[in-house]
Symmetry: C2
Subunit: 320 residues, 2 copies
């Protein structure tokens, strides 16, 4: 095992201890669909997604290292917003979340309900990074990046760590990939156990920057935010640290892409056969499995969340 | 503890041992919605409902007691059908399931996929009991009753037994009530632990025969199969053995009823906040909880299944 892997895997284990009081240890579920499948259903995690793993690890690590931040700031239209809001509230510090104006009002309300200040005026998907840096400077808040941050990566890796503790014989682990926080954390947790488990990232065809980055050997960027049902992976490029883990160090074995139809079918399959209410992004690994893209063997799928827009889901459930 | 309770509670524990190789020990889930809530999510049970607990206990007990049956027969348009089909296949005996002609084709297909013979021609909800007795005599098959059978009752009680092992501090347990198999088994499992846990049955207002039986002190029967979203509890009366446990021995504390609107809202709430895909019947205890009908305290809800008709569910999810 390389020093790189050794050191980062130790950080994932440290993150698991650090965040334990604040997160749920979600069960590894099995199904009638296939005796070789196991699911890490992070829809049952606090706030309904895996994101608090990384957010708590980042916030608690920042407090340990000091000096004490004045508060935290994040950009997100989705699950990272609620995660940072909850982690900040837990340590008694304010959080400011920038959310694009066209975001789902239910997610905005959920973020506010966790005590965060939400800023939406004039914020778009395109200008949000620039606005972030302006507001950060103005308010002297500390950024919790959604993926390109070692603390976040180590925190996200704890999901796979738990899954492999419960199911040590897994041969494949698949997770969604957007910015790469979860996938790189998963690769660190899985490969530190001896490299025999294949680590696969799944992304929409419409957002195939990770796939192209893997093939090119350098970070490839989408021109614009992709149109996909999987609204949790609409990032235009994976992060620098994430690229280093996944492809620089070669800890991710493969990126597979799935069509919008395959994502929609997976949401319906999750309902009918797994009895899980997943958001489309959370169903990406199931879409890859169901379309035969993960190969054979004992397979663990990380379902990242369940915070779906009900109207969208209702439509997906009744498609032919 | 009475001799009655003592003896039957021992049978529930024996059932748990007997069926263990064939069922899943479903986890007790917690939620952001309320720190006092726990769920026994039997939608994750084999076949997608709790029914295999009773069916396996009945089939295995019949084999233990001998003589070896020629095969099994059951009447069901839903989850009991799949449970009996699976239990029979597991012990290498045939199963014949009578399913009304107007039943959901998906459930018929699922029952056939488990190796059972399905008979539908000329069978209606009204004449199915009569047809059952004709066919039973003709084919010399052994009946697995959906609820009015001690082996079935003891098997269904294993869900609450597990829930109380995981969550010994529960003050309330609520389950759906149709024929009363699950509720009477739950009462036996719960009250044998010292009577401090309240046992509550939940049924649709449109199918309030258990409520009226409780009030009257004798079995009250509906004139016809009730029209309710909760198609798993369309029985017209609870069973004799079930009545004895629930109200004869007084082991059930209360029956509460919920409206169709409350059931529909509970299915949507289960999706949005619990991330569970429940069938309307499975959501009955959540409907009672959400409408404030279960009182206070640490509460365990038994969600019986997730085998919903997708069109129905899609409609419920988008209701205002």
């Amino acid at each position: 095992m390389s020093d790189f892997l050794d050191e980062h895997a130790a950080q994932v284990r440290a993150a698991a201890t650090r965040i334990r009081p604040h997160i749920r240890r979600t069960a590894a579920l099995s199904t009638d669909l296939d005796p070789d499948l196991r699911f890490k259903a992070e829809c049952f995690q606090v706030t309904g997604s895996f994101k608090p793993r990384g957010a708590f690890n980042a916030v608690l690590s920042l407090l340990e290292r000091g000096p004490r931040p004045k508060g935290f700031i994040a950009v997100s239209s989705g699950n990272h917003a609620q995660a940072v809001a909850l982690a900040a509230r837990t340590v008694g510090l304010p959080a400011l979340i920038l959310i694009p104006e066209d975001a789902n009002p239910a997610k905005v309300a959920a973020t506010r309900a966790l005590g965060a200040e939400v800023m939406q005026d004039g914020i778009t998907f395109a200008n949000r990074e620039q606005r972030l840096h302006e507001v950060m400077a103005e308010r002297q808040l500390t950024l919790v990046h959604p993926f390109d941050d070692w603390d976040v990566i180590h925190g996200q890796g704890t999901a796979a760590l738990e899954l492999l503790e419960d199911e040590p014989a897994l041969e494949v682990i698949a997770t969604p990939v957007g910015g790469g926080g979860l996938l790189s954390g998963t690769a660190l947790a899985a490969k530190s156990r001896g490299a025999s488990v294949r680590v696969v990232g799944v992304e929409p065809e419409a957002a195939d920057d990770a796939y192209r980055s893997w093939k090119a050997g350098s970070i490839q960027k989408l021109d614009h935010s992709p149109a996909t049902l999987a609204d949790g992976v609409r990032t235009t490029a994976i992060g620098v640290r994430n690229f280093e883990v996944m492809f620089g160090q070669g800890l991710v074995d493969e990126i597979v892409t799935v069509s919008e139809e395959e994502i929609a079918s997976a949401v319906a399959l999750a309902w009918t056969r797994l009895h899980l209410a997943l958001e489309p992004t959370g169903a990406l690994p199931l879409a890859a499995y169901a379309s035969g893209k993960l190969g054979r063997g004992r397979t663990g799928l990380v379902f990242t969340g369940g915070n779906a827009n009900l109207e969208t889901v209702a439509t997906l459930l009744t498609q032919p």
